[in-house]
Point group: C2
Chain length 147, copies 2
């Protein structure tokens, strides 16, 4: 199949397929007489593997490792478990950071009930001083005592 067909089958954009090839995640495929890329079932499966990993938020570097393993599986695959665990920890951290951020944003939001004048907009004042919000928050301002 040509690149467009594989793109349609996998839901991946044509440019992204070419990008993955350039990055060495996909092998250089054969070509038609007219220099069009020609893919087979294997290529499609490899691409789907990549897309599944991406769906799980993995980085291309991680996927590269997994692909190498996939190409030549070895006895020990505990590192994969570790990789996934590290990845989960990563995601956990991101969630925590975002939830914390949301709390601050909601506090900030409270400071403006809407329709205020610009001169004494509570939001702007908060962003200026940050004292009501972050100064007292160890996570945001571990060095708050200095200010």
């Amino acid at each position: 199949m040509k690149i467009g067909e594989m793109a349609k089958k996998t839901g991946c954009k044509v440019v992204t397929i070419r990008y993955y090839e350039k990055e060495g995640l996909l092998e250089k495929p054969g070509r038609t007489e007219g220099n069009y890329r020609l893919y087979g079932q294997d290529d499609q499966e490899r691409l789907e593997f990549i897309l599944h990993c991406r769906k799980h938020g993995m980085q291309l570097a991680e996927i590269r490792k997994l692909l190498a393993f996939r190409d030549r599986p070895q006895r020990d695959c505990t590192w994969i478990t570790e990789l996934i665990d590290a990845h989960i920890g990563n995601v956990d951290g991101q969630i925590a950071a975002l939830q914390h951020l949301k709390k601050h944003l909601e506090e900030l939001r409270q400071r403006c009930a809407g329709g205020r004048n610009g001169d004494n907009c509570g939001i702007m004042q908060s962003l200026d001083s940050l004292n009501a919000c972050c100064a007292s928050c160890a996570r945001c301002a571990p060095d708050a005592g200095r200010e």
Copy 2:
């Protein structure tokens, strides 16, 4: 003060300060005879405003708008509330996506109890087929029926 001192006071890296200047968020400061940047209290406060906004996950483009307003406050600041609201919605979406991702990762993690052989590593198999995990999940594979 010179750039290094302001960096230390604000916890912002020197290169980042120069970057903000290049991006027009900070004004071009005066210079010493030896061409070193010289900052005052105003500059520090402006930088802190920027850093506070960044801490709230705002993009530089948004901060640019807020800075323009800060420079010349107008009657109506309802758009700021809207901006914050949109921002909160954004953060909410990110959290939801990450929590969903985490669920999948944990399912994936279950497939390998550790110490398995590479040939039949459950994680790799899942990433290959994705059938146990995502195919049945409307959020991940809205087109799952096609496969």
